[in-house]
Amino acid sequence: MAGREYKVIITGTMGAGKTTAIRAISDISMISTEAANTDLLASAKATTTVALDYGELQLDGGDRVRIYGTPGQQRFSFMWEILAKGALGLVLLIDNSSERPLEDLGTFLDAFSELTRKAAAVVGVTHCDAGSGPTMGDYYEVLAERGLALPVFSIDGREREDVLLLLDALLTSIEAAS
């Protein structure tokens, strides 16, 4: 009998570390859909995700958690909607050193409002030690404006421990809401 399937989405700004985060926890080798990045104003990265990243966590009993990483740019927002359908929870990564992290946070919170309103979302802020950039207080404000009190953690997206911290907070939030 085929097992049951659940879905966790990882989204956020370009360069925040979504792909790395999935790689850090996936059981299978990650499937990615990258293309050459022509938008060098947005990021110096050589490539960018244009459809999705896909990883899996296999649970006992044949059940599975599918992990989807979305593209970060607004022009792929149709993918956000498709991927978020029926998701258990959302991990939102924001690159603190990017141009407009707070605006981007607002954009994603609004785009995924169904999940954020159910407190089934966490925010991870990467590249915090780059010097300048908004403070954690600024991030709280963006959430408070929307009546949200989601976890916001400053993390290193390359560290598996930090990705697990985000997932722990996410799962605990979902449990507390039910």
């Binding site: 990258e34 050459a36 938008d39 244009v50 459809a51 022009r75 792929f76 149709f78």
Partner: protein, 153 residues
């Protein structure tokens, strides 16, 4: 000094092509002429566009109200997914994806330009014949490649 001599003496780095095709001002012109040819050749085409592999529109011909911006991004997603699926099946390089419905079809192709940076997307109605559209689209890609070669020098 005549023009020819001037070019001969200009250092190579000044003549070299931009980091990405998208930045080159002549690109839309070349693509446009290829698209014009394609649309004139093929019956039933309601929209045709050229996009970058990361989903930006380069140029488009729209006979119907279709969002070129959105289709460009979607084409990039679909062809990238095509690559991923083929990779799982141990094949390489997605050439095209055909999306058919009862009222028409969308055909998306990788242009296979020298830099592998361009995609072609075609929207056609019931009057179109897939075989003909595919043939003409491939020829259109060849024309785009020729244009790109001219730019790249």
């Amino acid at each position: 000094m005549t023009n020819m001599e001037a070019i001969a003496q200009t250092p190579r780095w000044l003549l070299s092509s931009p980091a990405s095709l998208r930045e080159h001002p002549e690109l839309p012109k070349h693509c446009r002429s290829a698209l014009d040819w394609f649309v004139s050749q093929t019956s039933g085409v309601t929209a045709a566009l050229v996009a970058t592999t990361d989903g930006f529109e380069v140029c488009s011909i729209m006979h119907r109200a279709v969002s070129a911006e959105k289709i460009s991004a979607m084409t990039s997603s679909i062809l990238a997914l095509g690559d991923a699926v083929l990779g799982e099946a141990s094949h390489n390089g997605c050439e095209n994806v055909v999306i058919e419905s009862k009222s028409g079809l969308v055909l998306m192709l990788a242009v296979r330009d020298a830099r592998q940076e361009l995609l072609l997307s075609v929207v056609a109605d019931k009057n179109a014949m897939l075989g003909q559209v595919l043939w003409a689209a491939r020829k259109c890609c060849e024309r785009i490649c020729t244009g790109v070669a001219l730019i790249d020098g």
